[in-house]
Amino acid sequence: MNAADKKRLLREMLFARRFEERCYEAYMERKVGGFLHLYPGQEACCFGVMEAARPGHDYVITGYRDHVHAIKCGSDPKAVMAELYAKETGCSKGRGGSMHIFDVKHRFMGGYALVGGPFPLAVGMAKAIKMKGGDEIAICFLGDAANNQGTFHESLNMAALWKLPVLFVCENNLYGIGTRIDRSTAVTEQYKRVCGYDIPASQVDGQDIEVVYNEAKKAVDHVRSGKGPYFLELMTYRFRGHSMSDSNKYRSKDEEETWGKRDPLYILKSRLIAAKELSEAEYQKLDKEIIEQIEKDIIPFAESSPEPKVDELTKYVFGENDPYVRGGAR
């Protein structure tokens, strides 16, 4: 990773941070409804892993904290914001919402709202990749709490059994909704739980994007070379509540301050400044540009876009004019 890459990644992560903060504001203004799960604090996980993978080529799937993953895969942030605004121009045409961002063109295969639900879907995509003989891999980003679902174990078993090209990325942010990991999980270090399936696994700092990138590179190479699945645990922290309905009373001030000092943006920015690759003034300029892009480009697009038509309520339940439904085929 050279200096130019690091500066680009800092910009991408800063964009993601500002984008998510703006989602929060839109939610507080009641322009965005439903549930909203934000990503600040965890940015180095998505950007570090995807930098080591091939966004738009590899198939990515995740849970409901999904806006940033879609954007890193190549989704237009305007379409992601418009989806939060429930507009027809949203990437899921206003039918999905914050938790169900889909952008199949960029191989972002969706955000799913059942904890642990994407595990078997990711393994299935890997099965399809193997059948077709492509060099893509499937990447499944989920939180630590998903590992307490049966699908985790069922999916690890099948992925290992059939040596399928799937990378499991566990963003361990230490909480499942409002319950701390040691209160819900017997073995808190998630990579240790994987040894029962003979899947190579490792655990690294998820706040330092260079550390994430370097470990992810090994993981991605392993999976892409046909050696089967890999499990990568990234130790991270979300700076906001689980969702917008979160009282956030379950974490201590001390803990929040400790992790606040390990802000992935701060870590990368300080490093670039220390290496004289970046100045504070440059950073401020970058920040201003990003905020301007969001305010002048993204938000107006979402606000001015039309809502879906009510007379199209039942569109997309089933396919249209399928010849096999009416028996018209042969």
Partner: protein, 326 residues
């Protein structure tokens, strides 16, 4: 036209579709080396190999989800869930992933999977192996539910389901794999929507599906021979969406309706069909429609109790005679 077993019809549909399209695979517990508990995939493992005829671990939610994920990328999986009772464990992936993904992605992604599973009350299998789950599946928007009553339908419904771009659940019956019936020699695609008049009649309509079609046909014979009553039998091979047009047509013609279901009455096929009759043709009716359903009990092990828990042709005859005041 050849007379073959139900299981042979299921197997033939698999074989033809797998021979045609290398993206068609089948998967499930014991479908490979063993050839399927009901022989529905016999010989396919040797012919197509382990990559396409996958013996899965006993992880219903996991392997059903795997099939759904593979279908996102163009694979056409025929997933066998060995017994419908085990499908409870796969409901999350069926209902939350397969059935909803087209809608919540705004039409970008579809899950063209076929999920086949036998249910029903067979021979003293006990409470946990005698479930009838069609009512659960037909309440899920975005999922097609069909249920064959004979080998021809079994063959043609699988053929259509494999090629249809929507997820399709095929509700089979453990008792019916050894049933024989005529299946066309030429390739045949059965529609996934609609209903069939299995017997013409004028005095009353008996609505059945899957095994209860046979009880209705037996009852119709008894009614005709012994009581001079001509019953029409309508085979509801499509449970979701239900054929409103066909239901209305027959109920308006005979003015009387009896729905016969192997499942318990609450929130079931009978409730749904009678609601449709009320909505579509209430003022055409000469009598209040009735259900002949299973007792609302976990299916008992004792054979006498088991038999008493589910309907039969005699109960259908009784219900019709009562309706006619005979």
């Amino acid at each position: 036209m050849a007379e073959i077993f139900f299981w042979e019809a299921v197997r033939r549909a698999h074989d033809e579709e797998m021979a045609r399209d290398p993206m068609v695979i089948c998967m499930g517990e014991d479908v490979g080396v063993v050839g399927g508990t009901y022989k529905a995939t016999q010989g396919l493992y040797d012919k197509y190999g382990p990559e396409r005829v996958m013996d899965t671990p006993i992880s219903e939610n996991g392997f059903t989800g795997l099939g759904i994920g593979a279908s996102f990328l163009g694979v056409r999986p025929i997933i066998e869930i060995m017994s419908v009772n085990f499908a409870w464990l796969a409901l999350d992936q069926i209902a939350n992933s397969a059935a909803k993904v087209r809608y919540m992605s705004g039409g970008q992604l579809t899950a063209p999977v076929v999920i086949r599973s036998p249910g029903g009350v067979a021979h003293q299998l006990g409470a946990q192996h005698s479930g009838r789950m069609e009512k659960i599946f037909m309440g899920i928007a975005g999922l097609r539910v069909v249920t064959p009553s004979n080998p021809k339908q079994a063959y043609g419904l699988i053929k259509s389901a494999v090629r249809c771009n929507d997820p399709v659940f095929i509700n089979e019956h453990e008792y019916m794999y050894s049933m024989k019936g005529d299946v066309p020699d030429a390739e045949y695609f059965h529609p996934l929507e609609g209903s069939e008049v299995a017997r013409m009649g004028r005095d009353v309509t008996l609505f059945g599906y899957n095994i209860s079609v046979h009880w209705c046909l037996q009852a119709a014979e008894i009614l005709s021979k012994q009581h001079g009553v001509e019953a029409e039998v309508v085979d509801l091979f499509a449970l979701s969406p239900l054929d409103r047009v066909g239901i209305k047509a027959s109920a308006s013609k005979t003015h009387r309706a009896v729905v016969v279901e192997e499942a318990e009455a609450p929130v079931g096929v009978g409730a749904e069909v009678i609601a449709i009759i009320n909505e579509e043709c209430f003022f055409e009716l000469d009598a209040a429609p009735v259900r002949v359903s299973a007792a609302n009990v976990p299916i008992p092990f004792n054979h006498k109790l088991e038999k008493a828990a589910i309907p039969n042709a005699q109960e259908v005859v009784k219900a019709v005679l009562k309706m006619l005041g005979k």
